[in-house]
């Protein structure tokens, strides 16, 4: 009996250790040569430096070539550029599944693109258009938001190559963008309210924050949804990271908590990140992300 008890304890400890070790063993992480971004107009770099899509200025897919040089445009030092510098340019692919106006119900379809492209590194930066509706009744419930997010994550977990990385970034603090754009008007750089007035015609994507008729309590309500959706993104990502041994999952809310300045918001629409904002997005997300030890 005296011998059995310690033996039993040792056996239990070995069992627990084996179990714990089995949980943390993951398929080795692939080098992120094949990049696929999912997201919305922020990833498309809408109005970053020039009107409409500025793909060269995307925080994740951006690049810097002849036309960018000629116009002296900002080099955003995107994830795409960082990957080439740190891991080599051979075999590189740079896919943008992101589409302006996309919200979480579109996430699943975008992941089909990532899977189709056999991406080794997928970024997820979505939810802004869920928080930004024309109307408050358009903002999804927590359950709806979560269900749509899970649908896409499930697809990625099932079909991406083993060892791929999925990096989820929390939604920007939309309220801060409103504050800063208000500063632009005060500085005489551009009259943002003229642009925002189009929300009254349902032509502008963020009525729930930018409608000039909104009260402060309306804006703070929208911000509260922003915070709740980020919590869902964080929890679901962590759940997949623990249960899926074939892939590597990361989440950050570094972007939400960054203090934004006026120059980081586009002068063209007073809402989307400027090229400087995209450059800072790239830096913040890279430094908080899965390859942050690579700093070339």
């Amino acid at each position: 009996m005296t011998i059995l008890v310690p033996a039993f304890v040792i056996l239990c400890m070995l069992f627990v250790a084996a179990f714990a070790t089995a949980q943390t063993i993951k398929t080795p992480q692939l080098v992120p040569k094949r990049l696929s971004s999912t997201g919305d107009s922020i990833t498309e770099a809408i109005d970053a430096e020039l009107p409409l899509a500025n793909h060269w200025a995307s925080w994740v897919n951006g690049y810097h070539g002849f036309w960018e040089w000629l116009f002296g445009l900002t080099d955003v030092n995107s994830h795409n550029q960082r990957i080439s510098r740190n891991f080599g340019a051979w075999g590189r692919k740079n896919y943008m599944e992101a589409k302006s106006g996309a919200d979480m119900p579109d996430f699943y379809e975008q992941t089909l693109g990532s899977v189709n492209h056999q991406a080794q590194y997928v970024t997820v930066f979505m939810g802004h258009n869920d928080v930004c509706g024309n109307d408050f009744a358009d903002i999804p419930t927590d359950a709806e938001f979560e269900a749509n997010f899970r649908a896409g994550m499930e697809n990625l977990s099932k079909w991406l190559p083993a060892g791929a990385t999925i990096y989820v970034i929390g939604i920007v603090d939309i309220y801060q963008l409103w504050e800063i754009a208000r500063d632009k008007k005060a500085l005489g750089i551009v009259d943002c309210e003229v642009l925002w007035a189009t929300t009254l015609l349902d032509l502008f994507p963020c009525g729930t924050m930018l409608n000039p008729l909104n009260s402060e309590s309306d804006r703070l309500y929208t911000q509260s949804r922003n915070i709740t959706f980020n919590k869902i993104l964080s929890e679901v990502t962590e759940e997949y990271n623990l249960s899926d041994s074939n892939h590597h999952y990361f989440y950050t809310d570094a972007v939400f908590y960054s203090v934004l300045s006026e120059s980081q918001v586009s002068d063209i629409d007073c809402f989307h990140p400027s090229a400087i904002g995209q450059r800072d997005l790239s830096r913040i997300t890279w430094d908080a992300g899965p390859f942050n030890d690579r700093q070339k």
């Binding site: 116009f71 109307d135 009744a137 903002i139 419930t141 500063d183 005060a186 500085l187 402060e216 703070l220």
Partner: protein
Amino acid sequence: MTKRLLKSTLVILSLSLVLSYGSKALAQSLQPDIIAMLNGEPIFLSEIEQNVAFQVYRLQGNIYALLQRETEEIVNQKLLATEASRRSLSVSELLKKEVDEKAKPPDEKEMDEYLAIHPEDASKDPQKRNKIKTYLSQKVLIQRKLDYIASLREKADYKFLLKPPERPRIKVMINGEPWRGNADAPVTLVHFADFTSKLSAESVEKIRKLLSEFPDKIKWVHRNYFRIHDEKALLAAELGESAFEQGIFWNFYDLMFSRKGDMKMENIGKMADEIALNKKRFDDGQKEGRYLIKVKEDLGHAARIGVENPAVIFVNGFYFSGTFPYEDLKKLVQQELELKTKPIKE
């Protein structure tokens, strides 16, 4: 004697050094905007600032806004803490009493009133109605808290003392650029424009009107600016540079803008023929990249001083958006004339 002479010499030398240093220090203290010294010559902050006035202005604006926002946040926290202390409560207890317990959730009547104003949300779908109810309930709580803090503010004596930055007069480079009007005019208009743009053509007409209303009072300078990937605009800009080189710039300029932005790529070359532009000289210059470099200088300078869309007019260095009403532009010019401001130095 020798020792005394030596000592006196040393004292005089020392005094001279001290006086020399002291006068420099005094000079610097009287001129606080000396930012650097180069071979004994001062470089003034005002010289440097003019080159980067726009960026500095925006950064100052950022700082001002951040400080103001942070101050507001701290003021709110202090007001709540003070009131809580006065009532021997914690802040969370105070908020529970003043916000949670006093905020009335919306009833069905208020729901119906909301739906009457927002008929697009009226739906038999219970999910939609629940979403509206959640929104209205949360909004009531948020509004109650805002109102409560506002009531504390009213009783307090609060002033934000920092002043916002002043809009700068920007140093716009015009050395070696095509110009017309009066070389010594009190007002210089620097027009960043696109030869193939309708909007630029409209702003040209307004500047012409200005010149007719204020004869001899305006110097009008052209610099290129156009959108990325616009091959037509790039070709027109290069032709413009060649026309300037050949001394026929304003012929080209007037001809291009007479089209009011309505032109095809293949027609631009023909327009250059109309003003007898030397085509070989243009081809050689284009191959050498001479015109491209000049255009790039224009684009780079424009971006640096804040131009994002053609056309933009700088009125003695004051930025004026391209979609301006003529009367506002005229008013700005009149103000500058009243100030008798000298043209921007080249």
